[in-house]
Symmetry: C2
Subunit: 458 residues, 2 copies
């Protein structure tokens, strides 16, 4: 079907949507290193993990042998409400850039959570419901994950308790209200509802909170409340598994029209979007069936892949979760106030870290102002106002398309457009006013983070 | 194809998208009354209209003979970026309501303007560009129309000057920033940039503005600036024409699956969405080919159809635009601070007014709290957080589905979901906090408006 006219948007039919998630780890020759119990420093057991996470999700977390896992029918039903997401041919952008490159993006923003996070939220809520739990707890910074989880819990009549970093709670009242509209209870963190919250408030009475503290509160709340578990929106293997729906749909849509990408680009914070998008393509690459250039894009202000160390580290600054071997800046690294809240994470998915370490993918870091330039250009040409996180991928996609313009190469570029920026207008305002600044940490700035790496590495 | 399984979302193929708009007035046996020049009280001429509006749009405004008007290829190209919009089968809502009714909604919110307004904005910007204009002016209250127009002007490299009611400018900084991101200049109204603005500021130094004042400023700016025209997002015939794309897509999608609706429901402020949605169905009804129950839904606080008078009135409170015969509460009626800003309009499209007067459609008014109850229920079940305006249609659709539950009738209900509520979280917050109030004007409250009707009626 190669000569067929490619539509602006490729939507799969319902019967073409994936019925199984793809578990890339099963096909990896070199598996990611196992999670370690932070106390014993031994690989975590299913039983240990099941105290924090839902039992089925703990199983998925440890499963690196089954390549395909059935998507339960109830989740597929929910997926059908907002999926398939369109694979868009960026004809207008190509024309504007005058590039011979062919640009496609998989757009995950057409749902009320505004991002791909819903793909995993609904799965996690489903397994919590199946287990007979009363509810789940989580933390949220910028609010995308909290919103997605609220929607998912509302669908399954589960209680949803979100610890929202206090500064975001106050500065992003609209995000908070979306969560409340979906029935979630949203608590500014640190709070008086947990031991760790009370201790922090006592020590730092005026603190506006941090993601690390919010995670610790959410975990404490989950493990100390009958019928609750803790859920997380990125980094974990289970999350990448659920997000494989992005890549599987993308691949089916491309295959339908005989399109073979040369390059796949995605932003990477914890890695859930990128890991999901690339999974079936990386599977082919690992099995030697095809070759693709795969590029992770991260902010220059929080460069875990490009400047981090591949080491065991704490996933959370509260140091209550298992240790993961990953590219990390150290849990003691404090990211600057970059506006892409979803990319302000010190570490990276252990799966992606392993692939990167094995040379199967590349990484680039980009600066904030250049990212917002790309975001604004994209918004004006393609009509979609992108999230700051997603705009990291747009920046590199445009750069690569412009390289093609110089070389005359007709490369096919696919990138992940993870979400919309409707709740990020404070950042756009700064950019519109010419008040946005860039920050690249010096080696000196990175030192405290590296010093915080646990001793297990030495 | 009646027995075919109806998918959750029906997306047309690109080649099934409309190539022509449908001009319902051409098929109306009783035409709407003509616009009058506010000074001469004679029907406005094409020349007079062309001083305010783009020439081609003025022609469309007066055209009640051509049933089909070609959509220029450049507009169709833009449509392909965000259209077709999905016709969604509300399976989950049906299940939750336990109704035998079949519910469909045409969802126009999957674009950055967040509503159907973009359908007309891109058309109006196109004709302005074709005419060689430098730019356009408009007013915006809640901001949906201003956002859509900013996007359209940015696409065609046209200057876009938006007068935004000062209170909204200050209370909705995010809407303002979206417009600025698309390159529009946004001026809080009243402003020092026009005679009318300066006069009002002198008389009422602390005023936070009104839509009427913003319209007057935008019109003054357009007619006094070389190379500019004024554009409007609703009420006008030209706008209903462009919005027919909603109804045409809906009809094609239904026909494809052999679905015949019993009932079509839409919210009505100025009438652009409802007029567009119902147009091809109303055409069949007028031609006696089919019968449909068609329901306009308006806020009880601003009940132009259900409690207004069918009379000539000013379209704007500044009284600079032509007089239109319509259902109106009088340009002197000051709507209460209902949160559905898009429905706070004293009048109604002259086409819809005529159809209503001729008994071809019904109207209902609903109260704000009941509307937000429906909005929240819908958001939780169907996953989309609706705009307050759209939620008026949801309220009546749910009410009708519940009636079917009682009677056992398997009615097919189609309603227009015009947009998303992401920029309306202040309203949702009020509702979530139990602080939302209802307001139904007394006959006494309506009197000043009726007293303001022009003498031409007597």
């Amino acid at each position: 079907m190669t000569n067929q006219k490619i539509p602006y948007k490729i939507y799969l039919e319902e019967n073409e949507m994936p019925k199984q998630w793809y578990n890339l780890r099963a096909d990896m020759k070199q598996k990611p290193e196992p999670l370690l119990n932070p106390e014993t420093l031994q690989p975590v057991t299913l039983e240990e993990l099941s105290g924090i996470f839902c039992a089925e999700l703990a199983k998925q977390e440890l499963n690196d042998t089954d390549a395909y896992i059935d998507i339960p029918e109830e989740i597929r039903k929910f997926y059908r409400m907002y999926r398939p997401s369109p694979l868009v041919r960026a004809y207008c952008l190509e024309e504007k850039l005058q590039t011979p490159a062919k640009i496609y993006y998989k757009f995950e923003g057409n749902n009320t959570s505004g991002s791909h996070k819903l793909n995993s939220a609904i799965a996690q809520a489903y397994y919590a419901k199946q287990q007979g739990l009363k509810g789940v707890t989580t933390e949220t910074g910028a609010g995308q994950w909290g919103t997605a989880l609220s929607m998912a819990c509302s669908y399954f009549d589960l209680d949803c308790q979100v610890y929202m970093v206090k500064v975001s709670y106050e500065q992003k009242p609209f995000r908070r209200e979306v969560m409340r509209t979906y029935g979630a209870s949203v608590t500014p963190s640190p709070s008086e509802t947990t031991n760790v919250g009370r201790a922090i408030l006592k020590e730092h009475p005026g603190t506006t909170g941090s993601l690390g503290c919010a995670i610790s509160e959410a975990v404490e709340k989950a493990v100390s409340t009958e019928g609750y578990r803790y859920v997380l929106g990125s980094v974990l293997n289970q999350v990448l598994l659920h997000q494989s729906v992005i890549g599987l749909e993308t691949k089916t849509a491309l295959d339908k029209y005989g399109i073979v990408p040369d390059m796949i680009i995605g932003c990477a914070g914890g890695g859930s979007n990128l890991g999901g998008l690339i999974s079936p393509f990386m599977g082919e690459k690992i099995r030697g069936e095809k070759d693709y250039q795969i590029i992770a894009v991260e902010p220059a202000s929080c460069p875990s892949l490009t400047r981090g160390k591949y080491a065991y580290d704490y996933c959370d600054t509260g140091r209550v979760c298992p240790l993961s071997k990953m590219y990390t800046l150290g849990s003691g690294f404090i990211p600057s106030a970059n506006h892409a809240g979803g990319l302000r994470y010190h570490g990276m998915s252990s799966t992606l870290s392993k692939l990167y370490d094995d040379g199967l993918m590349e990484a680039r870091s980009v600066e904030q102002t250049a990212v917002f330039e790309a975001a604004t250009e994209f918004a004006r040409i393609e009509g979609i106002l992108p999230a700051p996180e997603s705009s990291h991928a747009i920046r590199v996609a445009i750069d690569e398309a412009l390289k093609c313009k110089e070389t005359g190469e007709e490369k096919t570029i696919v990138f992940g457009l993870t979400g919309t920026g409707y709740f990020d207008m404070v950042a756009y305002e700064k950019f519109n006013n010419g008040e946005m600044s860039d920050y690249i940490p010096t080696d000196e700035d990175l030192k405290p983070g590296f010093d915080s790496l646990p001793k297990v590495n030495s």
